[in-house]
């Protein structure tokens, strides 16, 4: 079938090129993607094999009332190819008059290494009542790397899996991941991002939200996007193809840089927050218990508490908690409760004074659920600021609130510099993350190793602290492992509102050892370019990489998910200038061996255990 309408603008083939890609659209019979290749390398992505049916490269297929409509049923009514100083635009206009449907297939080329593939659709329903339309994009479903001996797909909701198939990367909606296919050996390939500024699935005709929740091959191959087109042409999908060259680490770095360009980092760059970078070990101090409270003296025994903390390597922050679950017996609110704290606010100030003497900072909680509904954030902010003035505390724990009202920040800043706010929930939006510089890595019971905290690597300046309040026994070991693997601190919480779940002496010693190692290698753990899930040479062996910003050293933290030890070449050292390696967690041997792949790090990692390898000059 040839539905091409005679028009001088209409060509059989359209060629698009930029620094990294060559693309050919075939408009002879509908719209098909004939070629989409990485240019300089002649490394093919989507070029049909001779034995593949042409329909595999269709731009889209619609389904209405069970009947399928490929682009070949549409007439090509116009083709436009234009360019300005920064972009090139190709628009193929399609029309299917039988159903009053119009569509556009659009390529928007940045002339460098990115091309957006956009589909727009409109239907003028004969009876005026919209119906559901389902869309499948064969070109996307058949996306793969030809000419690659071995390639890997990275799905937006499951970029790298654990052995059980679940994502090893604990994702964050502020830093969504693309779909990607990359050559394992050479690192080349494509990523497809799904740019969209809405968070609400049904509110937009654009179905990028469906696509960016893709988590496996089945979804990719069988996607069917539900649409409700109206009379006006609107976006249905917008796929941003980008040429990748550095494998997973390169793509991760590129994405991080892309996100960071949009961030206002002012809060993270404040000199008065420098102290908080060293606040590695926090203690959740539940006041209604003998861990903290001396019932005979009727006061909190801060010295005894901090002495106990020495077994963990020393608490850097304590959070004094005495409201929940007591609030609500009468009308007193959280601020009244500070008046009634043992010794009153002066009692808190005395604790702060003693803690500061010992190098420990003191936080108080703020309960977002315990404020009157008619109170503004400014009114509450004044109360919070007064509390800082009265007690000289160093920060606030925001409990269930995963955001920070600007008024709180502004009013507290007027009272005392360097007061940190942090939340129990991990913020999932750029706007909140720009203001709230720290949060808990709270993983409850679903956290299994390896579990990598995406936000810790995407925004390393945002300080995360691992906590799983109900973990006991070997689950506490896993909590420690998770903190180590992610290169972050821990919230020690042993008295969970009246349930006493202490750490064992061995676990305390392990936390202490981790704190010491972290402190000795801060230049790596506080660096700007860490890479999660750095490629290794064993299945089931995972690695997070923390290169120092100076390039003088790199820490690799490995976790062996297998039931057997792994021994031999573990991974390739990313920085050829680092000529030495040592294992600094278990004391096992490690060395560098040069091969044609690069400098392989040889060592061993016990089954379901960690290893920490330091590479240095």
């Amino acid at each position: 079938m040839n539905n091409k309408i005679s028009n001088s603008n209409i060509k059989d083939k359209i060629y698009v090129t930029n620094n990294k890609m060559d693309i050919t659209l075939n408009c002879i019979d509908g719209v098909k993607i004939e070629k989409w290749v990485l240019k300089s390398l002649n490394f093919l992505e989507s070029e049909p094999c001779p034995d593949q049916p042409c329909s595999d490269w269709e731009a889209f297929v619609l389904e209405i009332d069970g009947i399928k409509y490929p682009t070949s049923v549409f007439a090509v009514t116009n083709i436009e190819q234009v360019r300005d100083k920064t972009q090139e635009l190709v628009t193929v206009c399609l029309e299917y008059s039988k159903l009053n449907m119009q569509a556009k297939v659009i390529l928007l080329n940045d002339l460098d290494k990115t091309v957006n593939f956009i589909i727009q659709l409109a239907v003028d329903w004969p009876d005026g009542y919209p119906r559901e339309v389902f869309m499948h994009v064969p070109f996307l479903a058949n996306f793969h790397l030809q000419g690659s001996d071995e390639s890997t797909f990275y799905y937006p909701l499951n970029p790298i899996s654990r052995k059980n198939g679940q994502s090893a990367l604990s994702l964050n909606s502020a830093f969504r991941m693309p779909l990607a296919v990359l050559d394992n050996n050479r690192g080349y390939g494509f990523s497809i991002d799904f740019p969209l500024l809405t968070d609400h699935r049904e509110s937009s005709q654009n179905r990028n939200l469906d696509l960016r929740d893709m988590y496996n091959e089945y979804f990719l191959k069988n996607h069917s996007l539900r649409l409700r087109p109206g009379r006006v042409l609107t976006d249905v999908i917008d796929l941003e193809f980008c040429a990748e060259e550095g494998g997973w680490p390169g793509m991760y770095s590129r994405l991080r840089n892309k996100y960071r360009k949009t961030f206002n980092m002012k809060e993270y760059e404040r000199d008065d927050f420098e102290w908080y970078k060293n606040a590695f070990l926090h203690h959740f101090t539940y006041v209604y218990g003998k861990e903290a409270y001396d019932y005979k003296a009727n006061k909190l025994d801060i010295d005894r508490l901090l002495d106990q903390g020495d077994e963990f390597g020393g608490y850097d922050v304590i959070i004094l908690w005495h409201q929940y679950p007591r609030l609500g017996v009468d009308e007193r609110d959280q601020f009244d409760f500070y008046d009634d704290f043992p010794g009153g606010k002066e009692g808190i100030r005395e604790i702060v004074r003693k803690a500061h003497k010992r190098g420990t900072s003191v936080f108080l909680p703020f309960k977002p659920w315990d404020i009157p509904a008619d109170e503004s954030t400014e009114e509450v902010g004044h109360k919070i600021a007064s509390l800082v003035r009265d007690t000289d505390i160093d920060g606030f724990f925001l409990d269930t609130m995963a955001n920070l009202p600007l008024d709180f920040r502004r009013l507290v800043d007027q009272v005392k510099p360097g007061v940190v706010f942090y939340s129990e929930g991990q913020p999932g939006s750029k706007e909140v993350l720009e203001l709230l510089t720290s949060s808990w890595d709270q993983f409850w019971n679903w956290g299994a190793m390896p579990d990598v905290l995406h936000i810790r690597f995407m925004l390393p300046e945002h300080i995360s602290l691992s906590i799983a309040r109900w973990h006991v026994g070997d689950k506490k070991d896993r909590l420690i492992k998770r903190a180590v693997f992610n290169g972050i601190g821990i919230v020690i919480w042993q008295d969970i509102f009246g349930s006493w779940l202490p750490y064992s002496p061995e676990q305390k010693a392990e936390v202490k050892r981790w704190k010491e190692l972290w402190m000795e290698n801060k230049s790596c753990f506080l660096s700007k370019e860490p890479i999660p899930l750095y490629p290794t040479l064993f299945d089931g062996l995972y690695c997070n990489m923390f290169p120092s910003d100076s390039g003088d050293e790199t820490i690799y933290i490995l976790y062996n998910e297998n039931d057997e030890d792994v021994k031999g070449s573990l991974f390739i050292n990313h920085n050829p200038s680092l000529k030495n390696v040592s294992e600094c967690w278990n004391g096992t041997k490690a060395c560098l061996v040069n091969t044609d792949k690069g400098a392989e790090v040889v060592g061993e990692v016990k089954a379901q255990e960690l290893a920490i390898i330091k590479a240095f000059k």
């Binding site: 209604y288 409270y293 679950p325 609500g328 017996v329 043992p342 309960k367 659920w369 006493w500």
Partner: protein
């Protein structure tokens, strides 16, 4: 209620046994106590018909000269050593467990155990509410403000106790020490109901519900909603009489 002043009256709870089972809303931290079901045998005892009122507590202060070591929030609603006008018969609040124990001791009484309070409230037929098994607004205080202890005669328990739910919480004398924490229980619920899920659950509560109350300093141990009533043990010589079945 006029100008009458309610005086202490006690009712007899005969010796009996019952299968005790108490519930509490399981918030974080749990409640380290044997909630049953378990078979308990209780000697007969007297229990206050009403919670201790402001007037009764003032009499105690006058008679005993009691002054707590830490007076923070002690009788916070009083002014110049006396209760506000018109509140003589309101349950006394802003008293800590210790204050309540001192009161009881002065009169040769004690605070009820959890098992005793539950029996006094529910009777041997184990009513869900003191007056029966169905919630009934006529039987309790639903005004949202504290009320005189004799406001709802229809709310009497099978043994004749009044005001056992929905007006003021009541201290229980069982103090628990699980090795790490010291706590006791509140019974009956109160006129005040905090708005949020994460707040302690106020309002009226059934006879088989208690609220874990973690003890700390006296400022926090005293509350605008917590009162108490007392129990009198019956001496061995007086222990004759009919046993309730």
């Amino acid at each position: 209620m006029g100008d009458h002043i309610i005086k202490r009256e006690m009712v007899l709870v005969p010796k009996t046994s019952y299968i005790y089972r108490v519930h509490h809303r399981i918030m974080e931290g749990d409640c380290q106590y044997d909630h049953g079901p378990r078979f308990v045998e209780l000697d007969k005892f007297y229990i206050d018909k009403y919670p201790v009122t402001n007037h009764m507590f003032k009499e105690f202060l006058t008679e005993s000269g009691y002054a707590p070591d830490d007076s923070t929030n002690f009788l916070k609603h009083w002014d110049n050593g006396t209760y506000p006008e018109g509140t003589a018969n309101h349950p006394v609040v802003w008293v800590s467990l210790k204050d309540a124990q001192e009161y009881s001791k002065w009169y040769g009484l004690r605070l009820p155990k959890d098992t005793e309070w539950q029996l006094a409230a529910s009777g041997t037929l184990k009513y869900k509410w003191p007056w029966g098994n169905d919630f009934d607004e006529e039987c309790l205080n639903t005004t949202g403000e504290i009320a005189p202890v004799d406001s709802h005669p229809l709310g009497a328990s099978p043994f004749g106790c009044l005001d056992m739910t929905g007006n003021a919480w009541e201290w229980i004398g069982d103090v628990q020490d699980d090795g790490e924490h010291i706590f006791t229980f509140l019974r009956g619920g109160s006129f005040y109901k905090a708005p949020h899920y994460w707040h302690a659950e106020g309002g009226p509560h059934p006879t088989d519900f208690h609220l874990k109350f973690q003890l700390l300093n006296e400022a926090l141990n005293r509350n605008a909603t917590v009162s108490f009533r007392c129990v009198k043990d019956i001496k061995a010589a007086d222990k004759g009489g009919r046993e309730d079945e």
